[in-house]
Structures are given as C-alpha cells and as structure tokens.
Amino acid sequence: MLTKRIIPCLDVRNRKVTKGVRFQNNIELGDPVEMAVAYSDGGCDELVFYDITASAEERGIDIDMVAEVAKAVHIPFAVGGGIKNLEDMKQVLLAGAEKVSVNSLAVRNPDIIAEGAKLFGSQCIVLGVDPVKVEKSEKFPSGYEVTIQGFRTRMGMDALEWIKKAEGLGAGEVVVNSVDADGTQEGFEIKLTRMIAENVGIPVVASGGGGTCQHLIDVFNEGKADAAIIASMIHMGKFTIKQIKDELVAASVPIRQKW
C-alpha cells in the first residue's frame, strides 16, 4: 500500500534553518545539511527546502547547498523559493534535487510549469500555493484566494481554479500551504486540503498548521492529503519523526515504518 509521506520543511536563510510564525520572528535552528541528515536518518519520507527570503529579496539559489544535501541524503527532496527561470530549475535538479517547487514564479508566468514539465518531467515540478480564506463569490468560487511572496501579495485569483490550471500545464504535485494555519500549530486546514484533493488528479501535500499527531491523522484521514509538511512540531524537539509515525501507525494510517 502506498504510504502517507511525512515531509519536514526546512526554511533556509543564509545557510541556517529558521522558523517563524507567519513569516515573522524567525529564529535560527541549525545547519541545513546536518538537519537533513538527522531527519532522513530519523525516518522522514522526503524533505523540502525553502529559501523564504529569496523571492522578496531577489537573491539566487544556493546551489552548493543543494549539492551538499544531495550527497548527504538519499531520499527525495524538493527545493523552492528563488527559482526564477528554467536555468535555475535545471541547476537545482542537476545538483541532485528530486523536485523543484514554484509558487510566485508560476503565478506570474504559468508557462514555466509547462516548459519545466516538458524538459524535466512532471514528477519534478511541484506547484506551491498559498491560499487565504475569502468570502465565496463569483470571483472566488472555492472561497480561497491565491497569495504570493510569503503571503504579502493577494493575486485576485481563485485558488482551486489556479491549481487545476497548473495541473493541466503539467505540475506533478501540489503543496497547499494555508496562510491562515501556517505556523500556528493549531491543525491543518482540513476542508481546504480535502477540497483540493477531491478536485485534482495529482498528489496533494498539506502544509501549515501541523502541531500534534492528531492533526496529521486528521489531514490524512479527513483531508485526504497524500503527504504532509511539518516544521514547528519537530524543529523544536517536541516530537521525533519516530514518535509521530508510531502514533500514526496506531491510528491505522499507512506509514513507512522501516528505514
């Protein structure tokens, strides 16, 4: 049986992993390569690295860091944030990343999804979306609006319509990062996750709000997510991946248990 993936998210700034709430009050947590190895050895199923300030400050991607991670861990990992064009995608993938995640870039230039999928395969192209809850309307039939640049900018686009368009262009997976739940540790936004899982054919990764094992159980069972991104609940030592996985197994969620 295909298992549900647990994906630690490492927000990297100047080669340090950081964590904040709603992109504010960031604190440094450690070295990204060391943390990647520790989580991989600890049983996580995949990793994702975001350079949280890359889009806002227009900085390039740290390819050397990607290459170091690829040498050190042998599970899939994605890199997002700061990818500006096909050449950046190529460099990140050739350095050894399994996937690239595009968010702001894809909103501004949707064709990058099709071009990336054609050149590297859909399985490499992850669409990141940061939806914020809004009043349901003709403009926002799903009740969620797309934001970009670390939630700073509202785009006036319906979130579900955008994700379906991106799927059609060749995105191989979608990471749904709830603006309202991000960093709160009060639970994933189950309704949002489920609505997207019901309406697209590609795997859906839930992100934002995970704080307890029950939150993960709920987002897999009720939200129908294929994978979930976690950060705060493991970065601060509250849980180990093993503890989380044991709880999920006890709740009959299909989980990889040997690593």
Partner: protein, 207 residues
Amino acid sequence: MITIIDYKAGNLTSVKLAFEHIGCQVQITDKAKTIGCAEKIVFPGVGAAKAAMENLENLKIIEAVKKVIANGVPFMGICIGMQLLFETSQEDNGTECLGVLAGSVKKFETKDKFCKIPQMGWNNVKIKNAHPIFAGIEDESEFYFVHSYYPACSNENNIIGQTEYADVVFTSAAGKGNLVATQFHPERSGRIGLKILENFSKWDGVC
C-alpha cells in the same frame, strides 16, 4: 566500476551520488564502445517510453545494450529503464521496447478520485523469488516510486517482487540471469535502497 548509461532520460545525479556514497567508482556514458567494455551497467531514467526509445536509437546504442545483457554483464534497469526492457509499452499510443523481458507495460487506471496517478511515494515490495540484490532486505520493505505506467511481467520466474497500487499487483522488481530491474528508485530509497545498490555492485550476475 559502475557504468551508467545516459540516454537523455532524466537526471542521473542521484544515481551517481548514491553509488559514490557506497564507495563505487562511477562513469556515465552514451557511447556503444564504452557500454561494450563495462563491468557493471546501470540503466536508469525517468520520462516517457517513446522518447527514451528514440534517444537510444539516435545514440545508436540499442545493439550495445542488448549485447551486454546477452553477454552476462550484471545489468540493472531502474524506473523507465526497467520498463524499456519489456516487449511493449502502452505509453504514447504503444511503444515497441527492447524485448529482453517477457511482458508489457500498462497504464494505471482507477475510478478512485483519491488514488492519484502517478503513484508518488513509498510503497512496499513483497518478495516472490529471492534474489541476490535483495540480500539482507526484509520482506515488504518500502521503496520510493514515481510512475504512471507499470510492468506486467508475463513470466512468473522473472518476478522478484510485487507491489500493489490502484487495484493492480504489478512487478516492481524483475530479474532474469544477469539482468535485474526495479520500478522503484533505490537511489532515492534511503538506507534500504542503498543496500540494493550495494548488493548490485557486489553481484557477479549469477543467481
């Protein structure tokens, strides 16, 4: 020395890094002559079957690949590199493949809206016939998969392991003499995946 065949079907970095991690020397080639002299061959790849077969043809290495397999050189196909070893694939309205293994490659189909295609993630492999490349690996260990098409092996003796997805039990690892192949990505499957590559690197091609 591990020789990885580069036929422009995806990214080889992770395969190369995984073999280097377990202490193997690695060379990457798209030349028939180099393939002909190789001690051990890895045939990886992601992407579409037709484009992959066309690339092999344009590089003029189909005969070299078939020859090393016939000559008993340990040979490992991964993902699309496994699928191409079968006779045909349903992908791209039907693609003729290398025909080294009996069977065909079919598309996952499901009516379950929550069963996503491609299969992407970790699934278990149930061992049907013990094989040296699975030495020391527990039955039903999980490996990392990414694929929309699956191998349907028609010779039961060639099935090493099976995996279930989208209401199908498919051949996720196959072997025939000096040839082995996995639908999953051992290079992305953590410690257990590296163990498969290590077993392959030490294998003399005899079962």
